[in-house]
């Protein structure tokens, strides 16, 4: 009984935060509601006895991705100062409409098929050792590839977001400074 109440509660919390993340006007609030939705999902994983995944989700999404999103929102704050036009694209009605159609398309088979109604088998004994062994034996290649991918993403993100001297009129890039950087004498 406890499991069902907790599931419905968490589901409601997650959906509410997800809707808020998509619908709120101010970006920072959206980002924080998204973090709350990720945390709610992590709790649902715990409720599903997927302990390791729940904590990994909490660590990666709430600990890292939420902060990344929030930093990105802060770095692009010029936007909010000039709130030109509405937050959503003009044809947002059709967007939401397609989403509702998509939802209906997903719901019908789920509700219709009988095989999905059965309850849960006994909880598997949580063992990080099994996950470790699996990672090191069957999934060792994907693990290495994900390592390479993460490094590539790290370097790529830094290179893309790095401030190039040739950027627009940023404080450190006015022509006077350019000459100063290139060492020409600035006769003040």
């Amino acid at each position: 009984m406890l499991n069902e109440i907790s599931f419905y509660l968490l589901a409601a919390l997650t959906v509410a935060c997800a809707v808020a993340a998509m619908a709120l006007r101010r970006l920072v609030h959206c980002a924080l509601c998204a973090a709350a939705a990720f945390a709610g999902l992590a709790l649902i994983y715990l409720q599903l006895d997927a302990e390791f995944v729940g904590f990994a989700q909490l660590l990666v999404y709430v600990g890292a991705i939420a902060i990344l999103i929030v930093f990105a929102v802060l770095l692009t704050r010029g936007e909010e100062a000039a709130p030109g036009g509405r937050q959503s694209s003009p044809s947002w009605i059709s967007g939401v409409g397609i989403a509702v159609l998509l939802l209906a398309g997903l719901l019908l088979p789920i509700l219709a098929s009988p095989s999905l109604q059965h309850g849960a088998p006994p909880a598997p004994v949580p063992s990080v050792k099994r996950i470790g062994e699996e990672l090191m034996t069957r999934y060792v290649l994907p693990l290495e590839m994900v390592g390479v991918l993460l490094t590539a993403a790290l370097l790529g993100a830094v290179v893309i977001a790095l401030r190039e001297p040739s950027d627009g009129n940023l404080p450190g890039n006015s022509p006077a400074q350019q000459r100063a950087k290139t060492g020409e004498a600035m006769n003040l």
């Binding site: 997927a50 995944v53 990344l68 990105a72 959503s88 694209s89 989403a99 849960a120």
Partner: protein, 105 residues
């Protein structure tokens, strides 16, 4: 200690997926589209874990493995995506997607 049936988890993940999709499609801000995509990814992860938990043989940790790798890749994706958004913002002083139409014919 009855667990809710599998279909409820699938309903939840479908709902989350459609919310993420609606946000990604309807909203104009680049960062909000990225958040929408994150939500869709999370909905997919929830499906994997639900099927692993309700599946016949939970000892085969395929679902869990899939979700672990998907989380790692999603983190990489967000990092690069946000770096792109920041680079574009620095160039054009806006993150509104419909303003980024310089490739349009």
């Amino acid at each position: 200690m009855m667990n809710p049936p599998l279909s409820h988890y699938l309903l939840l993940s479908a709902l989350l997926f459609s919310i993420g999709f609606a946000g990604a499609v309807a909203r104009r801000g680049a960062i909000l589209v990225l958040i929408g995509i994150e939500l869709m990814l999370n909905a997919a992860n929830l499906n994997f874990i639900a099927f692993w938990r309700f599946g016949a043989n939970p000892q085969a940790l395929t679902g869990v493995m899939f979700v672990l790798f998907s989380i790692a890749i999603a983190a990489a994706e967000v990092a690069v995506g946000l770096a792109l958004v920041i680079a574009i913002y620095r160039q054009r002083k806006t993150t509104r997607l419909d303003a980024m139409d310089s490739l349009k014919g």
